[in-house]
C-alpha cells in the first residue's frame, strides 16, 4: 500500500511510504471450490492479466467473489489502489471474460475497496510469475 505524505515542512516532494497490510482469512479467493458456471467464470478470469505485468488478476488476489444467478453473473473485485489508471480497462476485461462462460448472458462487475488489497494477497503462483518478470516480492 502506498501513501504520499509530505516531507517535513512540505518543502520538498512527497515520498512513498509502504505500509504492511493484513489479509482476512478467506482471502485471496481463487475459485478453487467453485462448480459449474461459476467455475467456468473463474477459469475465464484467470486469463485476464494485469496491464503492467504478466500476472493473472486472480493470482494477484483482485477477485473477491463470483456469483451466478440464472444467466446473470456478478463479479466482486478490487484494484491494487483506488486511483488505478487502468480501472476502466480492467473492469471491461473482467466483464468480457465473465461473459464468455456459456450460461452467462450478462455480467456485472462491482468494485469494492474493502478489505483493502495488499501484496500479501498475491498467491504463490502469482509470486512466481512476478519473479519471472523480474520483480522481487
Amino acid at each position: 500500500m502506498t501513501t504520499n505524505a509530505p516531507l517535513d515542512g512540505g518543502k520538498a516532494c512527497g515520498y512513498t511510504n509502504y505500509e504492511e497490510g493484513t489479509v482476512p482469512d478467506e482471502y485471496p479467493k481463487t475459485g478453487v471450490d467453485a462448480t459449474g458456471t461459476e467455475a467456468e467464470v473463474w477459469e475465464a478470469l484467470r486469463e485476464v492479466q494485469d496491464p503492467e505485468m504478466p500476472v493473472s488478476i486472480v493470482d494477484l488476489g483482485l477477485i473477491y467473489d463470483v456469483s451466478v444467478d440464472d444467466d446473470h453473473c456478478t463479479v466482486e473485485m478490487t484494484l491494487t489502489y483506488t486511483g488505478c489508471p487502468a480501472r476502466d480497462m480492467i473492469l471491461n476485461d473482467v466483464k468480457c471474460a465473465a461473459e464468455t462462460a456459456h450460461a452467462v448472458q450478462e455480467a456485472d462487475v462491482r468494485l469494492q475497496f474493502s478489505p483493502k488489497w495488499t501484496v500479501d494477497m498475491v498467491t504463490e503462483a502469482g509470486r512466481d510469475d512476478l519473479r519471472e518478470f523480474g520483480l522481487s516480492v
Binding site: 500500500m1 502506498t2 516531507l7 520538498a12 516532494c13 512527497g14 515520498y15 512513498t16 511510504n17 509502504y18 503492467e52 491494487t80 489502489y81 501484496v119 512476478l130 519473479r131 519471472e132 518478470f133 523480474g134 520483480l135 522481487s136 516480492v137
Partner: protein, 54 residues
Amino acid sequence: MTTDPSTTTTADDAAVQCPYCGSTDTKREHPKGPSLCRSMHFCTDCQQPFERFH
C-alpha cells in the same frame, strides 16, 4: 549538490531477494519505481537492476 530528499525516506529499505539469481546481496537504490507500488534495487551478485513489488 543536493540529492532528492525522497531517497532518504525511512521506509523499509532492507536487502530483498534478487528475482534473477536469488541473492540477498542487494541494495535499494530508490524508494520510487515506475509505478506506485515498486521500488528500485540493484543486485551486487549478478550486477542486475531489478524492482521490488510492494
